[in-house]
């Protein structure tokens, strides 16, 4: 125990109100100190860019080994998943993902992704009005990863709700977290059924896992866990990025004009979208020793520390005028994909998909307009929309 008074707040970051608009709360917590103890959930919170980046780069102090979720049930259930491991075991398992998801490995599918995005954009231009979540944002993230896994075509849509439930189940003890349990059970049951029936296309990622299991290299739970890793990580994250880009460009038509006049800004726009509306807002680590972050913020050993990608990406100490959406900013060092040994293994795929959608729309669409109230998908971990009615022309 230390003699310093810890910096505290009784804010509930997981209330509907805070999840709807977390940014004023993030700013208040950033200004309070480099780490703040959230008394309501018994968690520490770090939200400034430098501290979040340093923590993510220092797994020996900020360990994932006791789980990155905010409740023990989640962390125990997923104890052998990549996200909840430390090196050296994590380094080994990560290769299973990076071998398949590196830019080089994905090169053969890039042209297919562009074609699918072009077709989708052309269809939506013909329709004019549609829901940017269900009709646009969900298409590529679901079908591209499912094709890569070699998943049967039927039943793909069922997985969406189950995957969102998985993220909720990582939250703190609260009704939203409890409500997600049946969805996670359904997800695991469904994955187990597909594996048991060997209902996977030979040659895909799923088949490789099945072969590894049959060869005795991984237990069946291991194969199901890895499959779940692909499914949950690839869905809501990329769907949120594409939905948010429509929302942002509808509200900032001058930025859309800029993108249309300079399509080479697509990669920079992607970075800015992931910075300003980070699809994964928080996860956590556990301290392996006492950490003094200065200004009286001393985190004890063994504490669970929430690190906010979303808050760090809006830190005015690092990004000038952080609440302004500016596709020329090109924030290459944003933390929306994490950083360090757990940095998103699928970011190459997320990039291919979002770039393809933005390019295809920029070539055809002059204006994106909201035609109704957007509905947020409130989730303990992710930030995105449930529906977003738009018109394009």
């Amino acid at each position: 125990m230390t003699t310093t008074t810890p910096l505290t707040s009784d804010l509930d970051l997981f209330s509907d109100e805070a999840l709807t608009d977390p940014y004023p709360h993030y700013k208040a917590l950033r200004d309070l100190g480099p780490a703040v103890h959230l008394t309501r959930h018994g968690l520490w919170f770090i939200s400034r860019y430098e501290q979040v980046r340093s923590a993510l780069g220092d797994w020996e102090t900020f360990s994932s080994g006791r789980g990155i979720g905010l409740n023990d049930g989640f962390n125990d259930a997923w104890g052998s998943a990549l996200i909840n491991m430390d090196p050296p075991a994590q380094t080994e398992q990560r290769k299973l993902f990076t071998d398949r998801l590196s830019p080089r490995a994905l090169r053969p599918v890039a042209a297919d992704i562009d074609r699918r995005a072009d077709q989708l954009a052309a269809d939506l231009v013909t329709r004019g009005s549609f829901d940017a979540v269900t009709d646009l944002a969900q298409d590529l993230p679901v079908h591209v990863i499912m094709d890569l896994i070699g998943w049967p075509t039927e039943g793909r849509d069922q997985l969406l709700d189950m995957a969102a439930g998985w993220f909720d189940s990582a939250g703190p003890a609260c009704p939203r977290t409890a409500a997600s349990v049946p969805k996670v059970e359904a997800l695991m049951g469904y994955l187990a059924e597909v594996v048991a029936k060997e209902n996977l296309v030979p040659g895909g990622f799923g088949w490789t896992l099945l072969e590894a299991h049959k060869a005795g290299q991984i237990p069946v739970e291991g194969a199901i866990g890895l499959l779940a890793g692909y499914v949950v990580a690839a869905f809501d994250t990329t769907i949120s990025t594409i939905s948010s880009s429509m929302w942002l460009f509808a509200r900032h038509p001058e930025q859309w004009d800029l993108l249309r006049s300079e399509p080479s800004l697509v990669p920079a726009a992607f970075n800015e979208i992931v910075r300003i509306e980070s699809p994964i807002q928080v996860f956590s680590r556990t301290t392996t020793r006492e950490v003094d972050l200065g200004e009286g913020a001393v985190i004890p050993a063994g504490a669970r520390v929430l690190h906010s990608y979303g808050a760090a990406n809006r830190d005015e100490r690092h990004f000038p005028d952080p609440d302004r959406f500016d596709i020329r900013r090109n924030p290459v060092d944003h933390l929306g994909f994490g950083y360090g040994n757990h940095a998103c293994a699928g970011q190459g795929l997320a990039r291919l998909e979002t770039h393809a959608v933005l390019k295809a729309l920029a070539a055809r669409v002059q204006r994106i307009e909201l035609t109704g109230e957007p509905v947020r998908a409130l989730n303990n971990i992710t930030r995105g929309f449930q529906s977003l009615p738009v018109r394009i022309h």
């Binding site: 590196s102 830019p103 080089r104 290459v332 998103c344 970011q347 190459g348």
Partner: protein, 64 residues
């Protein structure tokens, strides 16, 4: 003059370093980073430092 330290075992081949400073970084045939110049001249050092910050997996560091 700055010197770049590379931990090739961490590199996932995202290629951001190459995009940010193509004079300094490249990817080899296995898609792993290689440093093209042993000592980075002063006029490129700022670019090289920005590129090391862009690496998502902390495979690059500026040494002395």
């Amino acid at each position: 003059m700055v010197h770049i330290e590379v931990d090739g075992s961490r590199c996932d081949g995202f290629g951001f370093c190459e995009q940010a400073a193509p004079e300094v970084f490249g990817l080899d045939d296995d898609g792993v980073v290689t440093v093209l110049v042993a000592e980075v001249p002063d006029e490129l050092s700022e670019k090289a430092e920005a590129a090391t910050r862009a690496c998502p997996v902390a495979a690059l560091r500026i040494g002395r």
